[in-house]
């Protein structure tokens, strides 16, 4: 990763996200879901920032909040210092060009009724209406080649491609507007291992040639170890540990991160020996009080049940855990 | 009404027989009757019940037609007479009665639906 001066590109400050709970007159009231609880992160230029966590931990919700698909109910999101979470589509226009997204399901992220050419031309037609057809087609071809796609694909429909090929088309679409920041929501988890390597390589090459910054969402820790340079581990809408990849894998301090890393199946034939976590996985609807992990944490004491720990530096990584602060762990 | 249900149940069954839990039922070695009637059929009831509820309305409307064809002096025929004689109070009365019938039938349908489909809770029902 090019070690640029650490100028923050995207700042996430105390973002909260609530779903449901609204008891409209006609629509029945749904239970209140606390998807994100005051999340604060900073993504620097050139980073491959990875967000890791199990299903239901809010990593995709945070990604959608950052890109503006679901504005957060509280807190700010800043892009190069100015707030973007409260802008209308019109005001967001300059930022939309700089921020793009790649999605998880290759079979649903391309409009089945539009040819690859139409899908790729659309962003240009919207943002650069003055651009001539020839210029647009030239740009589309250039980006397709840069991502290693065969321009002959342009006239075909999405159902004629395999998962891996579609994901590469999806990446090409994200690169059409020459963005600086790309949110990738589990781009490879729906693909086979051999195809995952192809797509990851394409993303790495694009990052180097276009000086991109990635917010990479995944539940696969081995991909994080390979791809990311900074990692945030999330649990039930809260960031429990934040660190450079090397430190996190070398010296994980938060009990949940330790359990998560031990659960990853290793190939060295050492069999299944993982840290057992007691209790049942709570849902975001009945969020435990204090530290969200206290119901399953072997080191939890009554302080953990009452107060919500803040992210603090502990020498190796930043953790939100009283046991680490008090040296009990 | 009958053909509608036949077609609906057929398309639902074709879809549900491909679901994993039906294949799991076969994998458990259950006898075909149990798989078809208990596992598959109970799941097809869900859409059938909801569509059935709405059909009650159409049934009432067609009473007007059938009664006037066979000249039976039923509610529908009464309504038709009222319309021809522009007897507005009778028309209004008829509509209120019909409205009442719909409210009652739809509530019954909702109750049946929650009984058939446990995943749906009535608002305020203790699980």
């Amino acid at each position: 990763m090019s070690e640029l001066a650490h100028s923050p590109l995207v700042e996430i400050e105390n973002v909260e996200q609530r779903f449901g709970g609204s008891s409209g007159f006609l629509s029945p009231s749904q239970p209140l879901v606390k998807a994100l609880n005051s999340v604060s992160l900073t993504i620097n230029k050139g980073d491959s920032f990875c967000l890791v966590g199990e299903s239901g931990c809010g990593k995709s919700t945070l990604a959608r909040a950052v890109i503006g698909l679901n504005p957060p109910t509280a807190g700010h999101i800043k892009y190069q210092g100015n707030r973007i979470d409260n802008l209308s589509t019109r005001e967001r226009q300059p930022y939309t060009r700089k921020m793009q997204m790649v999605f998880q399901n290759p079979y649903a992220s391309l409009n089945p009724r539009m040819t690859v050419a139409q899908t790729l031309q659309e962003p240009l037609q919207i943002h650069f209406p003055t651009m001539s057809r020839a210029e647009i087609e030239a740009k589309v071809e250039e980006v397709m080649l840069s991502v290693g796609n065969d321009p002959s694909w342009l006239e075909r429909y999405p159902h004629e491609f395999s998962g891996g090929q579609r994901q590469r088309i999806s990446i090409a679409r994200a690169l059409m507007l020459d963005p600086e920041f790309i949110v990738a929501d589990e781009p490879i988890s729906a693909l086979d291992v051999s195809i995952q390597a192809q797509v990851l390589n394409v993303m790495m090459e694009a990052q180097e040639s276009r000086n991109l910054t990635y917010l990479f969402i995944t539940h696969d820790l081995s991909v994080v170890e390979h791809f990311g340079n900074r990692v945030a581990v999330m649990y039930l809408g809260t960031v429990c540990e934040l660190a450079d990849t090397k430190n996190l894998f070398a010296t994980p301090r938060h009990p949940y991160t330790q359990a998560l890393l031990s659960a990853v199946p290793k190939m060295d034939g050492s069999g299944v020996n993982h840290v057992k976590m007691s209790g049942e996985v709570p849902t975001a609807m009945d969020l435990p009080s204090g530290c969200v992990f206290h119901t399953r944490c072997p080191y939890a004491n009554d302080r953990c049940k009452r107060e919500i720990p803040k992210l603090k530096d502990n020498g190796d990584t930043q953790t939100a855990c009283f046991a680490v602060e008090e040296g009990r762990l | 009404m009958m053909p509608l249900f036949i077609r609906l149940i057929r398309s639902e069954m074709m879809e549900i027989l491909q679901m994993d839990y039906v294949r799991f039922a076969w994998a458990k070695g259950l006898n075909p009757a149990r798989v078809y009637f208990l596992h598959a059929f109970k799941n097809t009831l869900l859409p059938v019940v909801t569509v059935g509820g709405v059909q009650v309305g159409t049934m009432l409307a067609y009473t007007i037609l059938t009664e006037s064809v066979f000249q039976w002096p039923g509610m529908g025929f009464l309504f038709l007479e009222a319309v021809n004689r522009v007897d507005t109070p009778l028309i209004i009365a008829y509509i209120i009665v019909v409205g009442l019938i719909f409210v009652v039938t739809n509530t019954i349908v909702d109750l049946i639906y929650t009984w058939v489909n446990p995943t749906v809770k009535l608002v305020g029902q203790k699980s």
Binding site: H226, K246, M277 | Y21, N43, N117
Partner: protein, 330 residues
């Protein structure tokens, strides 16, 4: 005579204009209490192999050739009724997505008791106690209460444990698990895998684990098969294949894993993609994606060669470069 012997199994899907061949002659065997892993990417035919053992192929799939000998009887030739006595009783199955495997409108209790009643003529009370005992075996808290709850009231991990309990109800001799933990999170997957491992060992139950995850197979199974485009390309002792893969495809699969590469470096990818069933290349199906392929590979089909403990279907085995063992990097 092994417990289960599959010989030259072929499966076809006649679909109107064209007939797709999903399995081109697959043979493997399983001893009592042995754990076999079947690895392959989507479309390799691993699930088809699993379902054809119990003759549960989705229409219009059917076994077109070969034998599935279980305790001496060829399952592919049995009548529906005879087959029913085996399914869920001697051989049981675990599906991939716990959300879909349990019937949403029936209670857990009903779905467990019916499986017992179908194979044992015991009273409802006895069946209920046996079911509760099994639920306790799979470490489900307060099993009595769980019997009357519906599937949607349980979490993914809990549901998969119920499915495992159902599979163990009738003390089968083999459990076929089709990607049992793919839909689960990594911490829950570790718990389910260790649970299945212990239960198989204590009850001496054979396990056929179908997955695309090499790491899970290396942790749980003793023997493994690697499948590609409807054929077995490599089979043998799991640790032997993981540490010293012979077939170029298996090597590519292992090297493509992020664990095996220096952080930040390009992953060594396998070019191209899995051929679809109606466009399988002539000769060795892997030749368009293989760096070592020559015209011989593009003409005739390589046979499985080598010692029983570790065979591979490739004529270039001895010319391949030395393979750095797993974990050498750490």
């Amino acid at each position: 005579m092994a417990l289960l012997e599959v010989k030259d199994l072929q499966v076809e899907f006649p679909l109107g204009r064209k007939t797709l061949k999903a399995l081109h002659g697959v043979s493997f065997s399983l001893e009592k209490g042995e754990r076999l892993g079947i690895v392959g990417e989507s479309g390799a035919g691993k699930s088809v192999a699993a379902f054809s053992i119990l003759n549960l192929l989705t229409r219009p799939g059917r076994i077109s050739a070969g034998e599935v000998r279980f305790e001496g009887r060829d399952l592919s030739k049995l009548s529906a009724d005879e087959m029913r006595q085996i399914r869920g009783n001697r051989i049981s199955m675990i599906f991939q997505d716990p959300m879909m495997t349990l019937n949403p409108v029936l209670t857990i209790g009903t779905q467990m008791i019916e499986c017992l009643k179908a194979h044992r003529d015991i009273s409802d009370k006895e069946a209920k106690e046996l079911a509760i005992a099994r639920l306790r075996d799979v470490m489900i808290p307060s099993p009595e209460k769980r019997m009357d709850s519906y599937p949607h009231e349980l979490s993914g991990g809990m549901r998969q444990r119920v499915v495992i309990a159902i599979a163990l109800l009738t003390d089968p001799s083999i459990i076929i698990a089709d990607e049992p933990t793919t839909a689960l999170d990594v911490t829950i997957q570790a718990e389910i895998m260790s649970l299945m491992l212990d239960l198989c060992k204590t009850n001496n139950v054979g396990l056929i684990l179908i997955t695309h995850d090499l790491a899970v197979v290396s942790q749980v199974t003793e023997k493994m098969i690697v499948m590609y485009a409807g054929r077995i390309v490599e089979q043998g002792e799991t640790q032997d294949i993981i540490n010293n893969p012979k077939h170029p495809y298996t090597r590519g699969l292992i090297k493509a894993l992020p664990q095996e590469n220096l952080p930040g470096a390009r992953l060594n990818q396998i070019r191209g993609s899995m051929p679809s069933l109606d466009a399988i290349p002539v000769g060795c199906a892997f030749n368009p994606r293989c760096d070592f392929a020559d015209e011989n590979c593009c003409k005739n089909l390589p046979e499985l060669a080598g010692p029983i403990a570790h065979q591979a279907a490739c004529t270039k085995i001895d010319t391949l470069p030395e393979f750095t063992a797993v974990g050498a990097r750490k």
